[in-house]
């Protein structure tokens, strides 16, 4: 059973608690700039979008790494950096289309590692906007919404 992080932007309030717990868990400091997850905000529209590494199957970061330092951890279905091989050239940062790969002040590249199977952002998200769910159930909520809407409409007749 493989799980992945799914974001429900309708529930996100933009509190940025996920950013804080992420930096605390990984770097031991409460500093959103060092977080692996970031919330992009449009205050006027009330739109908050948590963005983080998508653990792509054909990952761009993995393809461009000159040292083959980025690999897929099959057990947790995640993309990982082997820091023994990494030279810190930041090519992966340039290649990722989502900004999933970040850089710390000491030039180490940082990315979401799913907290080894217990993502802290999910644990602390009060609104349940960030969820860690089974891969097969990712689209299930969306399917349910469509079916609900459909049956509601059809029940009028």
């Amino acid at each position: 059973m493989q799980k992945m992080i799914v974001v429900d932007n309708e529930k996100c309030t933009g509190c940025r608690l996920c950013e804080l717990v992420c930096s605390v868990k990984h770097d031991g400091v409460s500093n959103p700039a060092r977080s692996r997850i970031h919330i992009i905000k449009w205050h006027n529209q009330g739109l908050y979008l948590p963005i983080l590494c998508q653990q792509c199957k054909e990952a761009a970061c993995m393809a461009v790494c000159p040292q083959d330092a980025i690999y897929r951890d099959k057990e947790l279905n995640r993309v990982m950096v082997n820091y023994d091989l990494c030279i810190g050239c930041k090519m992966c940062v340039a290649a990722c289309p989502f900004g999933g790969m970040g850089v710390n002040k000491d030039s180490t590249v940082i990315k979401c590692d799913l907290c080894d199977g217990d993502p802290q952002c999910v644990r602390f998200c009060d609104m349940k906007a960030v969820n860690y769910v089974d891969v097969s159930k990712v689209t299930l909520t969306k399917k349910r919404e469509v079916v609900d809407r459909f049956s509601e409409y059809m029940s009028k007749f």
Binding site: H38, L47, I51, C89, K90, A94, N104
Partner: protein, 163 residues
């Protein structure tokens, strides 16, 4: 914010291949307008319209520094750039073999190796780049800018923000 918190970032999507960065680089360092004297090189594929500026990435754990037999490759603490000391360099080109990007270039006259020194914290290529393909920005800011760019795509698709 001190200079070594910043890093030179390349966005190939925005590069038009004008090679102005190469010109200003050679002019700044050598007082010459010759692209072979430039520390930044634009790799171009004319048929498919792709241009990518290639420049020293100032790696955290640089292979060139490890490969250099004379310790000529050293990091400058103020800017974070890894540069070659021409006094110590013997021109053996070990760094050229070690670098995965081909960033170190051989100086056409002295035959010593040259790489980007970030112009002592004020990269001239960034100043002249009209499209913003080269940026000199805070390290922790790179991923955030990219995330904002990507989130903008989604938000526009949902028609939640204006074009």
């Amino acid at each position: 914010m001190s200079a070594n918190h910043r890093v030179l970032v390349v966005n190939p999507d925005l590069c038009t291949g004008c090679r102005l960065c190469e010109m200003i680089c050679s002019l700044w360092h050598e007082d010459k307008c010759g692209t072979s004297f430039s520390r930044v090189q634009v790799a171009q594929w004319g048929e498919i319209g792709v241009a990518i500026p290639v420049v020293c990435q100032s790696c955290k754990d640089p292979p060139c520094e490890k490969a250099c037999p004379t310790t000529a490759r050293q990091r400058v603490e103020s800017t974070g750039a890894v540069i070659t000391d021409p006094e110590v360099c013997v021109g053996c080109k070990s760094c050229v073999y070690a670098c995965p990007f081909g960033a170190p270039a051989v100086h056409p006259e002295s035959k010593k190796l040259m790489t980007c020194d970030l112009c002592s914290g004020e990269p001239q290529c960034v100043k002249v780049c009209n499209t913003g393909a080269l940026r000199y920005t805070d390290k922790t800011d790179i991923a955030l800018k990219r995330k904002r760019y990507f989130a903008g795509h989604i938000a526009r698709y949902w028609k939640r923000i204006e074009e």
